[in-house]
Amino acid sequence: MLQPLLEIKNICVEFKTRGGALKAVDDLSIDVQQGEILGLVGESGAGKSMMGAAILGLIDPPGRLSSGEIWFKGQRIDQNPEPFRGCEISMIFQDPLVSLNPLKKIGDQLVETILRHKRMSRAQAIDRACRGLIEVGIDPERLNAYPHTFSGGMRQRVVIALALASEPSLIIADEPTTALDVSVQAQILKLLKKLCDSRGTSIILITHDMGVISETTDRVGVLYAGRLAEIGITDHVLRSAKHPYTQGLVASTPKIDPDSFGRSLYQIPGSMPKLDAIPTGCAFHPRCTMRTNKCSQERPPMMKDTAACWLLEEME
């Protein structure tokens, strides 16, 4: 088996508070293969954005990566992520209006990024920026335009061009389409997929939208309360989820389906625990309809590399 592009081994992200350390990410292991789109799905507070920030070393104090290792292309990067950030690994944020400098022309922002990471003349960098814009479907004549003259979708394209400027092998896209309309969202996802195919770039797509996961990703990891609940090939996970939480998520997503018109949606009872009150054992057990005594006492490990749930053990 090929060595994965990115390997995350048992990382924990802790926040020190007066009430003790809170674990936003708790003993999480995941790897990303070359050229794949890995989806990370979960509700607010599940730790999905924290994962992205941990890979790039962007966790703000008082949070810190308290244990675990992150390996990228055979090098350990959790101690010193700086040389990789923005160069080998780049990030696309949720809100394109906030991630672009409103006072600089987009051409200058692109050229700045390219010159920061690549050795070349300014003229070459401008040429490169033009090609970058063409690649994401923007007229290169708009190199001298300011971000506010672009629409939301166009701005997100510029942000993608920026992320691609340093020719990274991994892009972390943190809710890249949440701020956009459905029609624009479809275009952006298509663009990301195309770039992934043509360049062999891997993408970690962080989202809470199961529809986006189903349309875009090759594999998906489901996060709950900072832990990995389930991981697998997207089709398998969505068609036959093993973890009750994943099953609930899939069932509660509204679908366009003639059978479901006017029907009530499935709802998972209760809500995600706060970080200072994570239940013992399996974090999902108070909301789980299939819980047993064991669930409240022992934390389930990842079973058969698919889901962290005691039910799988019984099935063996």
Binding site: S214, E215, T253, K255, S260, F261, G262
Partner: protein
């Protein structure tokens, strides 16, 4: 019998430069037509959904329906009373507006952070003078909290102590507190997680049954619409391009724009 009727609704916004700039540059006045000749009607106790992209005018229609904006032309009537009748006295208009309440998109921005939940729910009751006596009012607040699935003791808390889904429940309770006939939901679940979204949508549905409420539901998410709406109107650039029942719209869309929206919506396996 239609309960809410919008007839040839138009709303224009004046985007002109200041007078002095226009005189110096010889530029004419500029207008933006956000809503252009929109007509629809909603039956009592049903849900009418308005769907469209950003800038299609759906929120403008919502604001006109609650009286936050006045239409440039056309009328909205509730139960055969014109909502923006200039001949109506301000008192009468206020009474009309009690019957239409709104649930906003972001539960983080629509609740006053310095007010206790009890005070937030009490304000419409006091303002419309619906229940006399502090004790009775407090009792009504407890009842409202229970109706939306919160506990009566939550009345003492502040909005920041609640999660997004719970806050949206508080917004719904506030809308219910003035005993309305119509609730306008402006993207009530787009700021929420999927599992919480399902809870809030189901709550809205059960409340509709209980109080025979009429909903005007505004959203850009076709999947959400398919589970709540009785009728759907598709808006594009301020004009109503298609109107149909969910069955018709999703199986046999007539307009290219509707088809485009349907194709763009991410589908689950």
């Amino acid at each position: 019998m239609s309960f809410i009727t919008a007839k040839n609704l138009v709303r224009r916004f004046d985007l002109s430069d200041p007078w002095i700039v226009r005189k110096l540059t010889f530029r004419p006045k500029k207008f933006l037509t956000a809503v252009n000749d929109v007509s629809f009607s909603v039956e009592k106790g049903t849900t009418y959904a308005l769907v469209g992209e950003s800038g299609s005018g759906k929120s403008t229609i919502a604001k006109m329906a609650v009286g936050l904006l006045t239409p440039s032309a056309g009328t909205i009537t509730l139960d055969n009373h014109n909502l923006n009748d200039p001949n109506l006295s301000p008192q009468r208009q206020r009474l009309m507006r009690r019957r239409i309440q709104m649930v906003f998109q972001s539960p983080y921005a629509s609740l006053n952070p310095r007010w206790r939940v009890g005070d937030i729910l009490k304000e419409p009751i006091q303002s419309f003078d619906l229940i006399q006596g502090t004790k009775n009012q407090a009792k009504r607040v407890e009842e409202l909290l229970e109706q939306v699935g919160l506990s009566p003791s939550d009345a003492k808390k502040y909005p920041h102590e609640f999660s997004g889904g719970q806050r949206q429940r508080i917004s719904i309770a506030r809308a219910l507190s003035s005993q309305p006939d119509v609730i306008i939901c402006d993207e009530p679940t787009s700021a929420l997680d999927v599992s919480v979204q399902a809870q809030v949508l189901n709550l809205l549905k059960s409340l509709q049954k209980e109080f025979s409420l009429t909903y005007l539901f505004i959203t850009h998410d076709l999947a959400v619409v398919s589970s709540v709406a009785n009728r759907i109107g598709v808006l594009n650039k301020g004009a109503l391009v298609e109107e149909a029942s969910p069955e018709e719209l999703f199986t046999n869309p007539k307009q290219d724009y509707t088809r485009m929206l349907l194709n763009a919506a991410p589908k689950m396996l």
